[in-house]
């Protein structure tokens, strides 16, 4: 096989799986079979990645590159996708909807995300982003039972469409000045370009706005709480992790450390966005009564923290961003696993009341949730602690005084709402007598296993992160 096709193999595996699943559904509907095919496709894509890792870095034509960075992030996204498929199986089973098509959309979204992490050209960038977004419209509204879902999906559709248009226009402007669409090359061309600096600057700014929307950072965050609230819990988990993570990987590759320091205005813009996200995200989270909305605002703040590491040009940049994302994936997927376990047939367990006194009904589940919240708050014994130390290290290394100060202030504010949820877990419901807690259904098996597995990873990487850090130390978004 030629190296030329190697980088697109994982995407091809996903698309093959998607086709097989589609044909299977046409022949005979079976939820279990479709889910298995989806998981098989993800596993096959993972196998292709393992093969790629052996020969990385490989340049796949103009559009894709498979270096260590791309392979690692692709593996991360696939892992999140597999977790979401398992969660979704339990979630959709027994609901009065046809569940099979969910996996088609999921595989499509994963293919888009994989394209994003390997993209090194505007064409693959845009194609990946659109494939991801179009699949997400469907996923957000999937069971179509609730008006909030439709609201979330339409909001995402409209805003996402608008931001894609801005992104495309920005790309056109940059291309017009530099004459190239390949990433690292266009920054060099920009340096040599005789004129058109203003147009290129405007193009860059539009690109920042486009990706800022996908990341849900302030001031492009308005969709986040509604979409988080409206989407089914597993889909929310997918948006929070795989979708945003893949876009962040792309941003890391596009604005490499040296490229960013060559663009002072864009650098300053990222600084403003980071500070605003950390402060506003955390402040707005204080007022939330819905756990999904709370996690949405907290995710805004977390991507603000990530931007601090992103802005640091030093050697800690990639390691800090990558470990923080890994920790965030493990934590947030875990939190949504808990939510899926608790969700009934009618609605998701996203109200604060659903968690009140959980410690007395489901001590292990409550314990896992406590550790996930502490991880989000960056406390020790969890991966979130190590991640936060890395981000602060990257910020201090680059002497980003204001962003680091905002990070400290933001995480101080965030304690209020994380601790409020933790306190609710331990509060005895006033009306229920302490003697006999009502019998609760145990929840889907897959989601329970997922919760346990993610909990183990959370604690393992919080206490002994050596192995994963050794892997992360090897990767770096390279130039083709």
């Amino acid at each position: 096989m030629s190296d030329y096709l190697l980088p697109v193999l994982p995407i091809a595996a996903l698309v093959c799986g998607l086709t097989i699943a589609m044909i299977t559904i046409a022949v005979r509907r079976s939820h279990r079979a479709t889910c298995c095919i989806a998981l098989g496709a993800i596993a096959a894509a993972g196998g292709c990645l393992a093969r790629l890792a052996l020969s990385a870095p490989v340049q796949g034509g103009l559009l894709f590159v498979a270096d260590g960075f791309a392979v690692f992030y692709a593996a991360l996204v696939l892992g999140a996708g597999a977790a979401v498929a398992i969660l979704a199986y339990g979630y959709l089973e027994g609901r009065s909807v046809r569940p099979e098509e969910f996996y088609l959309l999921l595989l499509g979204a994963l293919a888009g995300a994989l394209a994003l992490v390997g993209a090194c050209h505007f064409a693959s960038f845009f194609l990946g982003l659109e494939t991801l977004s179009v699949s997400l419209y469907g996923l957000i509204a999937y069971p179509r039972s609730d008006v909030r879902q439709t609201e979330g999906a339409i909001k995402y559709l409209v805003l996402s469409g608008a931001s894609s248009a801005l992104l495309l226009y920005g790309m056109a402007l940059v291309y017009g000045v530099t004459g190239t669409m390949a990433f690292p090359a266009l920054f060099q061309a920009l340096g040599h370009a005789a004129g058109g600096q203003a147009a290129a600057g405007a193009g860059m700014a539009l690109i920042v706005i486009g990706v800022g929307f996908k990341l849900g950072v302030v001031p492009f965050h308005m969709w986040t709480p509604d979409v988080y609230e409206g989407a089914p819990a597993p889909v929310t988990a997918f948006i929070a992790t795989a979708s945003k993570g893949a876009v962040f990987a792309l941003v890391m590759r596009y604005f490499s450390g040296s490229a960013l320091s060559g663009l002072p205005h864009i650098f300053a813009a990222f600084g403003v966005v980071a500070v605003a996200s950390m402060l506003i995200g955390n402040l707005l989270a204080l007022f939330q009564k819905n756990v999904k909305r709370l996690l949405a605002y907290s995710s805004i703040a977390h991507f603000g923290y990530l931007l601090v590491a992103f802005m640091s040009p030093g050697p800690y940049r990639t390691a800090a961003v990558t470990f923080y994302l890994v920790a965030y994936f493990v934590t947030v997927l875990g939190a949504f696993s808990v939510m899926t376990v608790l969700s009934g047939k009618e609605r998701d367990a996203d109200r604060m009341e659903d968690y009140q006194g959980l410690f007395y009904r489901r001590p292990y589940l409550a314990g896992a949730f406590v550790l996930q919240l502490l991880s989000l708050a960056g406390m020790p014994l969890t991966a979130g602690f190590i991640g936060k130390v890395y981000v602060v290290a990257a910020g201090v290394d680059a002497a980003l005084r204001l962003p680091v100060a905002a990070l400290i202030a933001g995480s101080g504010i965030s304690l209020f709402y994380y601790l409020r949820v933790i306190a609710a877990l331990f509060r005895r419901p006033a009306d229920a007598p302490a003697a006999q807690p009502p019998a609760v259904p145990p929840g889907p098996l897959g989601a329970r296993i997922m919760t346990a597995a993610l909990f183990v990873l959370l604690v393992w990487w919080g206490i002994y992160p050596g192995p994963i850090l050794a892997v992360i130390a090897l990767i770096k978004p390279g130039s083709p």
Binding site: P380, A423, L469
Partner: protein
């Protein structure tokens, strides 16, 4: 290796206590007490080892290093010198007392309670002997979470707000310390050093004045909040008042001491690098805490709140003692740290006993309990006298040495600090008077005197306090010449059994220079 055991025994016993709740709700307290006793024996073993060491053998009595790589260049490095040893002894001892004091107070979720208690103690022990700065920060943050649960789950009426306040104050100031640690780390790399988080290497880094100021500010933020010094003390009365007895003991006896320890270990060397000048404002802050804390203590009606404010006042002596740079004041501060842990811990136990009996901490509803409970009154009297600095008890030695050291630096400072003695007399006597004398208030039925277990706890806390008051040389010998790299280098040649007078003489020479 023994240090690893000291840190991990409470972690293991906490887990065991948690699991043992399945067998019986009463088992966890036994398991956790047993863990603390083993810990205390281990510390005693280390103490024996320390006193057998030849003089001039270097500051570190024991150390342990293992690979652990959360960040590059981090290692799991524990080591104890004299200061750590004294504090570890206090930690294990107060752990025992806290477990014993909550014997009947805690009836709900006993397993989880003892897990939190043991892990807080383990975190504190880790802070006292972590010599890798990342590990120090890890332990510093680690003790926060179980302490939060102790207050938030088993505390009194307004527990949640108090717990959150405690958590936020300490976590935000802790993050500032993290920035300082990382600043020091990068400064060390930039001067061409290798990447390391090791204490001796990092604190030998020459810093430019502006960087030194930022690093110092970051460390001080964490330590002054934890200590706490006025004006960063506002979390303390709330946390103390709402915490269960064991929580108050651990908070006053151990968590506040981590702040003092941090100043000794990290801030003082930085001051020494900067020529020692900026330390004086801190000594003034310490004296302000002495007076302000005492003044507020006098105005309280809630027993626990009163004792909490006396903590602010007593820790003011510690702050003044450690920053002055005088050997004698430092020894006084160390004695004060231990005696305050014992006397205040005992006062909190007493407040807890009263609350368990009466269901209130309001002094307005107490009075004339002496006839019913003479033993309780006698013990309260002893600890109140200790708190006001009666000669013969540990606090006197500590406060006296601090004031003596302060006099060398500034007589005015010493004069203000000694005004604290007057205030403390006022609040201590008021406490004893309102609770045990005066007129009987609304409680009609007689209150029970101390049970055998409670008497034992009180007695166990009184004996070391007397020992410190009458023969403090044992502790002074241990802490002399340790605490910082600089102190070790300066005093290393003379470390031995020099009596106080000799230390004084050396001090005078230091002052003349």
């Amino acid at each position: 290796m023994i240090l690893v055991a000291i840190v991990f025994v409470p972690i293991a016993s906490g887990l065991a206590a948690w699991l043992s709740e399945r067998i019986s709700g009463r088992l966890p307290r036994v398991v956790s007490l047993a863990g603390f006793i083993v810990d205390l024996l281990l510390v005693a073993l280390l103490w024996g080892e320390a006193s057998l060491r030849p003089s001039g053998a270097g500051p570190w009595i024991a150390s342990f290093r293992a690979a652990w790589h959360p960040l590059p260049a981090v290692s799991f490095h524990l080591a104890a010198d004299g200061v750590s040893l004294v504090l570890l002894a206090l930690t294990a001892f107060l752990g025992c007392m806290a477990a014993a004091a909550s014997w009947t107070e805690i009836t709900e979720r006993t397993g989880f309670f003892h897990l939190c208690l043991s892990w807080t103690v383990a975190g504190v022990a880790g802070v006292f002997c972590a010599l890798d700065l990342f590990l120090f920060y890890f332990a510093w943050e680690l003790m926060l979470v179980p302490m939060y649960f102790l207050i938030a789950l088993w505390g009194h009426e307004d527990r949640f707000r108090a717990a959150v306040k405690f958590f936020i104050f300490t976590q935000v100031s802790g993050l500032l310390m993290l920035v300082a640690i990382l600043g020091l780390y990068f400064a060390h790399i930039n001067i061409g050093g290798v990447a390391t988080f090791d204490y001796p290497a990092l604190f030998a880094t020459p810093l430019s004045p502006s960087v030194a100021l930022l690093v110092q500010a970051g460390f001080l933020a964490a330590f002054l909040v934890k200590l706490p010094a006025v004006p960063f003390h506002t979390w303390l009365p709330d946390a103390h008042t709402q915490a269960p007895t064991a929580g108050s003991i651990v908070l006053a006896g151990l968590l506040l001491k981590t702040g003092a320890y941090g100043i000794i270990r990290f801030s003082v060397p930085l001051f020494a690098q900067a020529g020692g000048q900026p330390a004086f404002p801190l000594a003034v802050l310490g004296v302000a805490s002495i007076l302000y804390g005492a003044l507020l203590a006098f105005g309280q009606n809630d027993v626990k709140r009163l004792v909490a404010y006396t903590s602010v006042s007593h820790m003011g002596f510690v702050l003044t003692g450690v920053v002055l740079g005088s050997g004698i004041a430092f020894q006084g501060a160390m004695i004060q740290i231990v005696s305050h842990g014992l006397s205040t811990g005992a006062l909190f136990v007493m407040a807890g006993i009263l609350q368990e009996r009466l269901g209130t901490r309001d002094m307005g509803r107490m009075g004339a309990f002496w006839t019913d409970a003479p033993r309780m009154g006698g013990f309260l009297m002893c600890f109140a006298l200790a708190s006001m600095g009666l000669p013969g008890l540990g606090n006197f030695v500590g406060e006296f040495l601090v004031v003596l050291g302060a006099y060398r630096v500034s007589p005015a400072l010493a004069a203000f600090a000694s005004a604290g003695f007057i205030f403390s007399t006022a609040y201590s006597l008021r406490l004893v008077h309102r609770v045990f004398f005066g007129e009987r208030k609304d409680t009609k039925q007689p209150i029970a005197d101390l049970s055998g277990r409670e008497t034992a706890v009180m007695l166990l806390m009184l004996v070391p306090l007397l020992w410190l008051g009458l023969a403090p040389q044992g502790v002074i010998d241990r802490v002399k010449g340790s605490g910082t790299v600089q102190a070790a280098a300066k005093d290393g040649h003379a470390a031995g059994h020099a009596p106080v007078a000799a230390v004084e003489a050396r001090d005078v020479r230091g002052g003349a220079r």
